[in-house]
Amino acid sequence: MAAPKPRVKVPKKASKGEVITIKTLISHPMESGQRKDKEGNLIPRQIINKFTCEFNGQTVFSCDMDPAVSANPYMEFSAKVEESGTFKFTWVDDDGSVYETENEIAVS
């Protein structure tokens, strides 16, 4: 499996107090643990089970995922910005790997 690649869409600029929409997507097979391989053995579950979005160190939004979330999990949510800062996005894999990315926003 290629290393999961996060993609995030955050506006570069916003006005103070604006509610912005953030879209995120990460490439990941989200193996549900329900599928079987050719020999009939269950393919072990491997999904991203937790997604978190932080702004300047404070959690804005998080999501606990179960195997019913599609492959390449997509998330769209909103955030209210009062000051310039950095959004930090974190995905946690079942195997303990953590994928991270950051985006800055200028608030005027």
């Binding site: 702004f55 019913a68 999990p73 209210k80």
Partner: protein, 149 residues
Amino acid sequence: MTLTRRQALGLSAGAAAFLAFGTKAGLAASDATEAAIKAFTGGAMPGSGKVSLDTPEIAENGNTVPVGVSVDSPMTADNYVVAVMILADGNPNPAVATFNFSTMSGSAEAKTRIRLAKTQNVIAVAKMSDGSTYMDTKEVKVTIGGCGG
């Protein structure tokens, strides 16, 4: 999307499993769904209103069904939505995802894409900061299930 041989095999295996266990699994899932709702709300059955679930009426491909949820709330420090749980009562495991909001969310809205094994009800349960809970249910017709595929 073109179906690869592997996917086609997976789908037919999934379909066969449903034929064999369809009714039984259906009953078990609704119990599991109710248990999941009660665990989330702390025992109470949620009221209706406030939550609105946005799903397609018919999903051609159960592997990626777009689902959106929005909750009517001012999202201020003393009145906001704590979390919204999404359930699919016809899946092998009804839990789908739980969105946790904060006062910094601005509005209680989220969208994602989910897997649905067959035609079934999708349920959203919202928990408010004052402890009250609300739910909304929508039926989604699934042409090709996303269970084995």
